[in-house]
């Protein structure tokens, strides 16, 4: 297995715009509340938008928590159920194959799932395919095309795609009982099926509801050879001759992004970023990407601000390593103008604890996406019990049941109204936040995901229903 390293992360972080805010120094105060050195916490500086501190290297990856650590979150009974399911699978082995060991939601999820399955005595190996830049340029184009972008599939692209898949097929062994191929990049590895006793599963993490017909037409014959396919939302699925299952994406409640934080740490992060916790805080966490509509969020905030006092925090990344992100950030700053209550934070990807703290400090969390995959930032917000307003796109309606676990909106005006409504109806907002957290606990946590994999293994390998 390719272990996660920081090798694909930038070796240094040099904020490129003046909009970037100060970053807290984690060494001052442990996020769980414990001082990490003999020094006291750095004095808070309430001044806003001060010059950013440089943060030269990302912190080392955190080791995944053991299975038993989830008992405090989901309860002993839930873990017992998983142990039982796993016991019945003793001796069965699994291989997961994807296209990257670091970066992106799939690698993040596998980094947690693989050790947990191993701990439950279902040995799970994780292999990552290799390929040249030409391969990954094509698979990136395939990814966009499967999301509906126009793309002209050439014979050369087909050949490069198949050639790298063949190289990986020859390099890899497929001796496990279940082979899980994640996403389209390694899909043609199914060619190895004829030499393997395994059951084969295609786990599709992307939205196939409106794919480019050329690319889907090319991939489909490979997908149809799998025993089953798994999608992240009902609406992402395609008509296939094989059974299809629904596995919602999930968050890890013990990860840096989602674990409970000490109140002092949350306070310190807010002080460092100039967020005033004595007043309502509306936050959107997302890359500076037009599909996340950060400009629309600023407009909604401005409309709501005519009626209710609040601050807006836009926390995300992408402006320093993506030219389009930098343009979007510039647009956001222009719309924001000189409003001192709009706090724009372009954070590097390793600021999970700070994002966690900002979410926890928020009164309302917004995810006003115009197009979305599943929307794990919504899941994170709901898990923190926050009243959440989100665009009714992609997988978000699976998470937000309108008025019960959150508010779905379709416009800037709708978003502005819901901000006003939730800020003026705190009891309703609190109940909704509570429901949202329970919804995540039931459906979108890592432990639920482990359960789904164990059930699928049982259905495919023990009961052989499929």
């Amino acid at each position: 297995m390719n272990s996660q390293t920081a090798s694909n992360r930038p070796s240094s972080f040099s904020p490129s715009t003046a909009a970037v805010e100060a970053r807290p120094e984690r060494g001052d105060l442990h996020p769980d509340g414990e001082k990490t050195s003999g020094q006291s916490a750095a004095p808070a500086n309430p001044e806003r938008r001060k010059a950013p501190r440089s943060w030269e290297t990302p912190p080392a990856p955190v080791a995944p928590p053991p299975f038993d650590a989830y008992e405090n979150i989901v309860g002993a009974a839930e873990l017992d159920e998983l142990r039982f399911l796993a016991r019945e699978l003793k001796g069965k082995t699994v291989k997961m194959v994807n296209s990257t060991a670091v970066g992106g939601g799939v690698a993040e999820m596998l980094n947690r799932l693989v050790p947990l399955l191993g701990e439950l005595e279902v040995p799970t190996h994780w292999d990552v395919i290799t390929g040249g830049n030409d391969f990954f340029e094509i698979t990136k184009a395939f990814h966009n095309a499967l999301h509906g972008s126009p793309y002209e599939l050439t014979q050369a692209a087909r050949e490069i795609f198949l050639s790298y898949n063949e190289q990986n097929r020859q390099r890899m062994q497929f001796n496990e009982d279940l082979i899980v191929i994640h996403d389209p990049q390694p899909a043609a590895l199914i060619g190895a099926r004829k030499d393997s006793h395994a059951r084969w599963v295609w786990r599709c993490h992307i939205d196939l509801s409106n794919p480019n017909p050329q690319v889907w037409g090319f991939l489909r014959p490979y997908i149809e050879q799998f025993d089953t396919a798994i999608f992240s939302s009902q609406s992402f699925a395609r008509q296939l001759p094989t059974p299809q299952y629904l596995f919602y994406p999930c968050i890890d409640p013990l990860s840096e992004k989602n674990k409970d934080l000490d109140e002092n740490f949350v306070q310190k992060v807010c002080e460092e970023f100039g967020v005033d916790r004595s007043r309502p805080i509306v936050t959107q966490v997302s890359r500076f990407d037009r599909l996340k509509d950060p400009v629309g969020v600023v407009q909604a905030y401005k409309q709501a601000k005519k009626y209710v006092d609040c601050q807006l925090v836009l926390a995300g990344g992408g402006a320093s390593d993506d030219p389009e992100g930098a343009i979007v950030l510039k647009e956001v700053k222009e719309v924001a103008g000189n409003d001192p209550d709009i706090i724009i934070l372009d954070l590097p990807p390793w600021c999970a604890l700070e994002i966690n703290a900002l979410q926890r400090a928020s009164t309302i969390i917004v995810q006003k996406s115009l197009k979305e995959g599943f929307g794990l930032t919504v899941t994170e917000a709901l898990w923190k019990g926050k009243p959440t307003i989100a665009g009714a796109v992609g997988g978000i309606p699976n998470q937000i049941i309108h008025k019960l676990t959150g508010m779905l909106v379709h416009s800037v005006e709708g978003c502005a109204y819901q901000i006003r409504y939730l800020l003026t109806h705190p009891e309703f907002a609190a109940q909704m936040g509570k429901n949202g957290r329970e919804h995540v606990k039931e459906n979108f946590l890592m432990t639920t995901n482990v359960g789904r994999w164990l059930l699928l293994l049982r259905i495919l390998l023990v009961e052989k229903k499929v």
Binding site: E81, F231, Q234, S235, A237, I401, E442, L455, K465
Partner: protein, 226 residues
């Protein structure tokens, strides 16, 4: 349920109660609906596992919601078709009145058919969101809780997962084909607590969360311990 009313204190159960639970995997079927007419067609054609998923299992998935949620069909008709009258009728279908998924499906079909007879223009109105028919693959899972007596039964009720409560209290009627549940059947047949068994059957599962339902079950059982 028939039988004599209880008068003596609870005695030793004839058989222990084994707490189980069920785990579900969600299958995506090929059926979907963007209008009420398509919905009716799919309702007629879908596998019984779909009726189970959208009427029974959804209660477990949304067990934390105190009000406003009964089944997926009613929720879609309200939120995506904006048909509150039809939604109320669909929501009013109490799954506990059905011991077979076929009968339950027929009831949903009957309601939609009647609505379309009276409101034919509603048949082709496009919904805001498509309804995707899913189905549930179920695996029964034992738990470590086994009740040899009433005290242990009460302990089990307090400590099992809400999934186990759903399994025994709500899904059970499809297995035992009775207008009852596993807890009441055991109390009636193996413990002789007829009134306690009846009291459990009167608990409303639609006006509270599953944790509320669990608390009510525990209260009823604890009263029998006194």
């Amino acid at each position: 349920m028939t039988g004599s009313t209880q008068s003596a204190p609870p005695h030793q159960p004839a058989k222990p109660f084994y707490f189980n639970t069920s785990a579900h995997l969600l299958r995506i079927t090929a059926l979907k609906a963007a209008t009420l007419a398509e919905f009716l067609d799919a309702l007629r054609a879908c596998p019984e596992d779909s009726i189970f998923q959208h009427a029974f299992r959804t209660l477990q998935e949304h067990h934390f919601i105190r009000e406003g949620f009964s089944n997926d069909f009613a929720h879609w008709v309200l939120s995506a078709l904006n048909q509150p009258g039809l939604a109320e009728q669909l929501a009013n279908v109490d799954v506990r009145e059905y011991t077979s998924l076929g009968e339950l499906r027929d009831r949903f079909i009957q309601i939609v058919e009647l609505h379309l007879e009276r409101n034919p223009a509603d048949a082709s109105r496009l919904a805001d969101e498509t309804f995707y028919f899913c189905a549930s693959d179920i695996v029964m899972v034992p738990t470590k809780f086994v009740a040899q007596n009433m005290q242990a039964f009460a302990t089990g009720l307090r400590e099992v997962s809400v999934h186990s409560i759903h399994h025994h209290f709500i899904e059970a009627r499809l297995r035992i084909k009775l207008m009852s549940n596993d807890f009441s059947q055991w109390l009636y047949e193996d413990v002789g607590l007829t009134e306690t068994a009846r009291a459990l059957n009167r608990i409303d599962i639609y006006t509270g969360t599953l944790e509320d339902v669990r608390r009510q079950i525990v209260r009823v059982v604890e009263r029998a311990l006194v």
